[in-house]
Amino acid sequence: MKKSLAIFSLTSCEGCQFEMLNHYETFNGLLKYFEIKNFRLGQENNFDENFDIAIIEGSADGEEQIKFLKKIRKQSKVIVAIGACAHLGGIQSERNSLPQGIFHKKPTKIVPAVIKTEYIIPGCPINHAELYHCLLDIYWGKQFFLPDLAVCFECRVNENECLIKSGKPCLGPITRSGCNSVCVNAGEACLGCRGAKPEPNIEKLKKILEPMIGEKETENIMTIYGDLTNEIDPSAKK
C-alpha cells in the first residue's frame, strides 16, 4: 500500500525541493511507495488532508507559519524536517542575534522548536540519498538513524587531505557526517551546514581557528546556518 506524502515549504530558498527533483530517477523510484499529495514543484496542492508523512523545509517565520506548522502536525503521522533552515535556522536565523525590532519583531523558529519532529534530514541542501533512505525506512517501519561521526571520517574515506592542516578554516571535525564530504571533495571547506555531531569538541576547534582567522570570523562561520551548538536532534543515535 502506498503511503501519502506531502512536501511543504516555509521560509527557505526551496533548494532542498530542487535537490529532490535534481535526482529525478531516484525520486521517480519512490513513487512506487508514496503518493505525493502536496508538492509545489510537482504542482500538487492539498492542504487539508491527512498525510502519512509530511516533509517540511524551511524555518517558521511569524504567527501564520507557526499556525500552519501546527495544523500540518495535526494532519500528519510523521514529520520529517529537511534542510539546514528547518534544522538549525538557516541563513535567516542570523537576524535572531540582531537587536530586536530592526527587521522583524520575532525571531525565526526551527521546526523542532514549534512541533514534535520525528526525523531531521540536515544539510544545505540535503543529501537526497539520505532523505530517500529515511523515507524508505519509514515506509518499512525501520528506525532511521543519522550517522554520528564527523565529516572528517567521510572526508578521509574520499581520500582528501586535511584542509585545516593546509590553513583553511574547516568545520569538518565538529560537523555530522552523511554528506559524503561533498564540499571538501570539491576543495571547499566545510561550513557545518549539517549541524554539530554528538559531543562536538567546539573549544578545540576554536583554539585552532582563532589564530588562523580571528575570534570574530570563527564565531561568524560557526553561525552561518544557525547555532550549531544548540541543535535539537530527535533522530540521532542517542
Binding site: 515506509y139 550517522p147 561521526l149 572528517c152 578521509r156 587531505e161 585545516i164 571535525p173 565538529i174
Partner: protein
C-alpha cells in the same frame, strides 16, 4: 637474491603477472597517490609515496555488499610500501576465516621502496628490515633492482628469464632519523595499566575531536557496522560498512545504554585494542608506524608521540615509588 632489470623487463614481469592476477597498486590520480587497479606498468610509482587510504579500501571496501563476497581472481599488489605489506599480512590474518577478503594464498605481494615522511615511525617497532614480500623492487638510476623473498617470487623471475645473482643480498632497511625504539611489551603494560593515568588520557581526549579520521585511514582499523539498506526497487541490501570506534553509538546496547559514554573511553579503547588486545589475541600489534593517522588528524594529535609518552608516563610513576 637480487637481480637488476631494465624498465622493459619490468613491463614484461608486470604483463606476466597480469595474466593470472588482478593487479592492484599505488598510482597517481588527480595529482594524488592512491591505491587502485593497475592496468599498465607505466602507472606504477617507484619509489612509492604514501597514499591517504591504505590497501584496505580495495580488499575490504567502505561498503561491502554481503551478496557479492566471492573472491574470484587472485590479487597481486604491485607497488606497495613495506609497512603496508606488513599490515596486509596482519589484516589478512585477522580476516582469515571470514570469507570476506581474498585468502592469503591468493595474494602476491610486490613491495617497493618507500618515500618516508616526517610522520613515519615504522622503525620504532623494529629495525626497519624489509621482509614481507614475494618480490621487492627498488629503483637504481635508470634500472630496477628486484629482490625475491619467496619461492613464488623466484619462480616468477625464473619464468621471465631474469638472471638471479648468487650472492645473497637484501633490500636496504628503512632508516628514519629521530625515531626511537618502542618496546612493545612495556608499551602494552603501560596502556593496560590504567591506574593513575586518567589525567593523561583525559588530556588527550580534550584535544581530540572524536571524528574518526584516524580510524578511516589506518590500514589496521577494521571496525565494521552491519546495515540493511532499503532501495527503491523494494530490495534490501545487507552490507558491512566501515565504522569507527570513535562513534558515539558504537558500543551502545539497548535503551541507549552506552558502555563507553565519553570520548576518553573511546580514545583509550583505540590504543588498548591496537597495543594490548590484539597482541593478546595473536601476538600482532595493530600498528605499523605508517603515520597516516598523524597526517589525517585535524586536531594536530601525534599518535606516535602519544605512545612514546605513555611509556615515559610509567617511568615518572616508577621514580616516585
Amino acid at each position: 637474491m637480487k637481480s637488476v632489470v631494465s624498465i622493459h623487463q619490468l613491463g614484461q614481469i608486470f604483463d606476466f603477472i597480469k595474466k593470472d592476477y588482478r593487479v592492484l597498486g599505488t598510482k597517481e590520480e588527480n595529482g594524488k597517490p592512491i591505491f587502485g587497479e593497475i592496468s599498465s606498468a607505466r602507472e606504477i610509482l617507484i619509489p612509492t609515496p604514501k597514499t591517504i587510504l591504505p590497501f584496505k579500501k580495495l580488499i575490504y571496501p567502505a561498503i561491502l555488499d554481503l551478496a557479492k563476497t566471492e573472491n574470484g581472481k587472485p590479487v597481486a599488489f604491485f607497488g606497495m610500501t613495506n609497512c603496508d605489506a606488513e599490515a596486509l599480512c596482519v589484516f589478512l590474518d585477522k580476516f582469515k576465516d571470514t570469507g570476506l577478503v581474498p585468502p592469503f594464498r591468493n595474494i602476491l605481494v610486490i613491495s617497493t621502496t618507500c618515500v618516508p615522511d616526517e610522520n613515519c615511525f615504522c622503525t620504532a617497532f623494529g629495525n626497519g628490515k624489509i621482509t614481507n614480500f614475494d618480490l621487492h623492487i627498488t629503483k637504481e638510476k635508470d634500472q630496477y633492482a628486484i629482490f625475491s623473498g619467496s619461492a613464488l617470487g623466484r619462480k616468477i623471475l625464473k619464468l621471465n628469464r631474469i638472471k638471479v645473482s648468487n650472492t645473497i643480498s637484501k633490500p636496504t632497511a628503512v632508516k628514519l632519523e629521530n625515531v626511537r625504539k618502542i618496546q612493545l611489551e612495556k608499551l602494552g603494560k603501560a596502556i593496560d595499566d590504567k591506574t593513575g593515568k586518567l589525567p593523561f588520557w583525559q588530556e588527550i581526549a580534550d584535544e581530540c575531536f572524536g571524528c574518526g579520521a584516524c580510524t578511516a585511514v589506518c590500514p589496521l582499523c577494521f571496525c565494521t557496522g552491519k546495515d540493511f539498506e532499503n532501495d527503491a526497487e523494494g530490495g534490501c541490501k545487507h552490507c558491512l560498512k566501515w565504522d569507527s570506534c570513535y562513534a558515539k553509538s558504537f558500543s551502545e546496547i539497548q535503551n541507549h545504554f552506552d558502555l563507553r559514554p565519553s570520548n576518553v573511553n573511546r580514545l583509550y579503547n583505540w590504543y588498548h585494542h591496537k597495543f594490548v588486545r590484539s597482541p593478546k589475541e595473536d601476538g600482532e600489534i595493530l600498528c605499523t608506524g605508517c603515520g597516516r593517522c598523524i597526517k589525517a588528524c585535524p586536531a594536530y594529535l601525534n599518535q606516535h608521540r602519544i605512545i612514546e609518552t605513555v611509556q615515559n608516563y610509567t617511568k615518572v610513576i616508577d621514580k616516585s615509588k
